[in-house]
Amino acid sequence: MTRRSAASQVLLALLIGAAVGCTPSTSGETSAVPELPDLTKQAPSVQTQVREAHVRLAALVARHAPAGERSQAFGDLGVLLMAAQFPDAPQVFLDRAEALGAGDYRWPYYLGHFYRKRGEPERAREAFTRASQRSPGDVASLVWLGDTALQLGQAEQAKAHFAAALALQASSLSAQFGLGRAALALNDHRGAVDHFEAVLARDATAAAVHYPLSQAYAALGDAARAALHLRQRANHEILPADPLMVELDTLLDSPQSYETRGIRALEAKDWTAAVGWFRRGLDLAPEHAALHQRLGAALNMLGDRGAARQAFLEAVRLSPDQFLALYSLGVLDQEDRRHEEAVGRFIAALAIRPTYVEARLRLASSLRRTARAADALAEYRRVLADDAGREEARVGEVMTLAQLGRHREARAVLEEAHNRAPESVALAHGLARLLVTAPEAGVRDGRRAKMLVDQLVQRGRTLDLGETMAMALAELGEFDRAAAVQRDLLTAAQRAGLPGVVSRIAGNLARYERRTPCRTPWAEEEWP
């Protein structure tokens, strides 16, 4: 090799090095842009998205762009890789973003979540601490610091973090809930109760509170409250408002990402946005059966039943096992009173997913309306065999027994169910209705029914409960009072614009005016 060619080689190497960032830069950044992980299993659109972000980053590094720009580019790529759920790759990009982005709390915040999901709470705590230091007013950072402290068994520290969060934002449910969790960890059961009850006072739907609250009450010896809250437990989380993590879920250009955004829009009842997201996902993956099914659901909510049906049919065409689409078609048929077709759809859905309870309940409903009450009864009982506490199935079972003329058996079933769950409005109401309307005198008990209705009225008045009240009065011979109640109900139904209900109420009113009690426990339009 000649001296000139050697020099050329060196120059070439320098140029190549510069192109990939092989030059010294600010503290915390090595010269090379980290390589990407293996992207081959990701959707093509995501591969393109990630590679383009990598090229942009490399270009910024190569031209020694200002630290802030490079920080943003490193962070964008790191977050993109986090969104794609790579378990390791995001770290180096987020580290570099943080090193270059002085004062920007986003990168250590994302790192905190990255470590949290990897099950590394110490590193998560360090990262959230840095985020909190950079943005002292960020409530989410403090709440997550509290959460990681609890994971580390450091309840006192957790308490301090949650308290700080609450001081910044008095309305923060997650901070209040966190204080309760910390109190529980410290065996301060009275304190835990106070905090958890405060959460419920602010949001009665915060179901995640019920289990730990029940534990706290149990520890205090209050078995009744412990049991009450245990019955209400649900597997929801109480999370801080977290716009950064929400944004993470919207980053990817993938069918799955659009599906997620569409589902969020559905949950927010923004049907138009949901349709938009699902269609964008289908642009990337036209044969994505689940997206067609979701699109159908959103179109149905917008009232476009025809387009919804087409979307469901497409889902089934693409994937005959799409049981949700089959179920949805069945629902449309049922709502259109095409019960025979609905039966076929629900049976097909259940053949794929025998445990899909909603499909089985709707199947039972359509069977009842196609003169197959015995088959319907079998379906309700199949649901109950797996979950004896499923109220809709129990009510369906009882109504079907009544439809079959087996009122005595219906009463026995209701009595047992009511004894097991005395707090259930549906079961108590069903029992009362049967006790006043069963054709067989031996099944009826007007006085008991009236007592049940009086108790239920204390908990809330509804049209159908009012009808039962009138039925009870009629059964007890108080036809004038029954008629008076019925007239009030008629007025209410007319004002509410419920023609089917009006017709039924008017029919019974005529009976009471003829001094005749009602002997039909449930009209067809009352069936579930």
Binding site: S45, R181, Y211, R233, D249, Q256, I352
Partner: protein, 570 residues
């Protein structure tokens, strides 16, 4: 921490010697690991095959369980390993019997006490032919003939094999009535629920599944992956009553009122409320766990929620794969450990003696240290024989590991070993234990038992699409120990029998004979009790599964002793 880093740390620590003990000093020789991996060297040349070929069939992610049991009745533990194979989406395509293996333990003990572990593959004459895709295994003597039978689980029913003699078996599935037809099970447990002297069978079913309805669940970036069990829907468990002689009847409907369909995995049977009747704990994947409390009338009542055992202390239903019950705090009752997914941490529940539980995962130190891992097979065992139960977990992630796509099944993680510090806390001593625990595989089942009969508990680990591992304990036998085999008059191991060990001047130790627990695996049913530096022969009292109790005085230390029901002092 990645595999290489673990290995480096383990070697460095091993060279520096074991850390000091709590109540008992166990002499640690420099450069001598606590466990030595000996599978291949001992003749266990077995590689599990999950058949994964990119179709992401759900069963591929679950196996294998493993079994330690005395197949030939010669007093040492033999090994049974279920096997998988490539699956097909064609429902009518039958599976040929898979290559499950039975290895006979030909342990040789020299006059000077040195032991040579050798296993011989006796599969071909064993009669253990299937099922076509084995997931897990349970062991128990179903006909009280003194020979241990095997129940091998699968995703399309299970098989019961009766041990005829000397390691040969016949398939009695059809005749037994315990085939779990249409059931998808990983774990099962033999347990005498009704105290009639016959082992009944609890089968934890997982999901309603057929290969033809396999669903692929892409991640947010579109990468295809296995679906969680909730996509398929849970399947109801089954409880079979043993009518005698290995005939069973499904009495689920009457015995388990209110049973709901959940994706069951690990099963552990124990007397959780101390009333002398055996109860059943079932880990359900992603849904509340079951605690079936024996009502003493042939029925069990599901009590997980009110007992505080169905969910974490914060009310979350976590993954829940492997389980075990054991008295880790030596207060006389059965506590529970459950392994979980990465990010959840194993859950430890302490029992107040009346089957009311409290989540102590965080204060124990186990929760936080296990967070990075997805745990499967696990058990309480006193690895150093100091009298306090420690715990080991076989780990393996369910998310493909980056940078390991060259591996056939890139879901590997290292194991975790926690030493009980005797104060409610545990120390992660994995690195100190030696390189054997740093071997990174897709760990699933783990069976615990004294495979070389030297007085400490060894561990057999099944790895998904990987080699079986035999972790031979090198330290426990340095302390004193008590080995008990608890048998009935028929010679059957009395699973569920509880034993109290009364040591002079020291707290009573409570242990239990059990083959169930862990994940899809069968453990050594014998009871090995660590005595630390106490050489005095203790008194032992056994509460048999039928409720009767007997005592023995001065049971020999540092030896295996068989206690037969009826031979003790009432």
């Amino acid at each position: 921490m990645r595999g290489g880093a673990w290995l480096a740390a383990a070697l460095a620590t091993a060279c520096g010697g074991a850390p000091a003990k709590g109540p008992t000093e166990v002499a640690a020789t420099p450069a001598a690991p606590w466990f030595s991996e000996r599978a291949a060297a001992a003749g266990l040349a077995f590689e599990h095959e999950n058949g994964a070929g990119g179709r992401l069939f759900y069963p591929e992610i679950l196996p294998p369980g493993v079994a330690l049991f005395d197949a030939d009745g010669d007093g040492d533990l033999d090994v049974y390993l279920p096997q998988g194979q490539p699956l097909s989406a064609i429902p009518s395509a039958p599976l040929a019997p898979a290559g499950a293996r039975l290895y006979r333990n030909d342990l040789r003990v020299a006059a000077d006490g040195t032991r040579e572990l050798r296993f011989t593959d006796i599969s071909d004459r064993s009669g253990l032919t299937g099922p076509g895709y084995g997931l897990g295994v349970a062991a128990g003597d179903v006909d009280n003939d003194g020979r241990v039978d095997l129940y091998v689980t699968g995703f399309d029913g299970s098989r019961l094999f009766r041990n005829t003699d000397n390691g040969t078996f016949i398939d009695i599935t059809s005749a037994s009535g315990a085939g779990n037809r249409g059931g998808f099970a990983v774990s099962a447990a033999f347990v005498d629920i009704d105290r009639d002297g016959w082992l009944d069978l609890y089968v934890a079913n997982n999901v309603t599944y057929a290969t033809s309805n396999t669903t692929v669940c892409p991640g947010p970036a579109g990468a295809p992956d296995y679906c969680p069990p909730q996509i398929y829907g849970g399947q109801r468990d089954r409880l079979y009553r043993n009518l005698g002689g290995g005939r069973f009847r499904d009495f689920t409907a009457t015995a388990l009122p209110g049973l709901t369909a959940r994706p069951g995995l690990g099963v552990s049977t124990a007397d959780f409320d101390g009333d002398g009747w055996l109860d059943i704990f079932v880990a359900n994947d992603g849904e509340p766990d079951f605690l079936w409390m024996n009502q003493r009338d042939g029925t069990l009542r599901e009590s997980g929620l009110p007992a505080g055992l169905a969910l974490t202390g914060e009310g979350k239903a976590e993954a829940s794969m492997g389980v075990d019950a054991g008295d880790f705090d030596n207060d006389g009752d059965e506590d529970v450990i459950v392994t979980e997914l990465t990010g959840q941490g194993s859950n430890l529940f302490t029992n107040d003696g009346s089957a009311r539980f409290r989540d102590v995962s965080a204060p124990s130190g186990i929760g936080v240290r296990s967070l990075p891992y997805t745990g499967w097979g696990t058990a309480w065992f006193d690895f150093d024989n100091d009298g306090w139960l420690d715990v080991l977990a076989a780990n393996g992630t369910i998310i493909a590991q980056e940078g390991r796509l060259d591996r056939r099944f890139p879901y590997d993680q290292v194991k975790l070993l926690f030493r009980n510090l005797a104060n409610g806390r545990f120390e992660d001593v994995t690195a100190a234990a030696g390189p054997a625990l740093a071997l990174s595989e897709s760990g699933r089942g783990a069976a615990f038992g004294d495979i070389d009969n030297d007085g400490d508990v060894d561990v057999l680990v099944g790895n998904n699409s990987g080699p079986v591992q035999l972790l031979v304990n090198k330290v426990g036998s340095r302390a004193h120990w008590l080995g008990l085999r608890l048998v009935g008059t028929s010679g059957r191991d009395m699973l569920g029998a509880r034993v109290s060990v009364v040591r002079p001047g020291q707290p009573v130790l409570w242990r239990r004979a059990r083959a169930d627990g862990s994940y899809g695996s069968a453990n050594d049913p014998r009871v090995l009790v660590g005595l630390g530096n106490s050489a005095a022969a203790p008194a032992v009292r056994v509460r048999w599964p039928d409720g009767s109790e007997e005592s023995w005085d001065a049971v020999p230390v540092d030896a295996w002793t068989t206690l037969t029901q009826g031979s003790g002092r009432r």
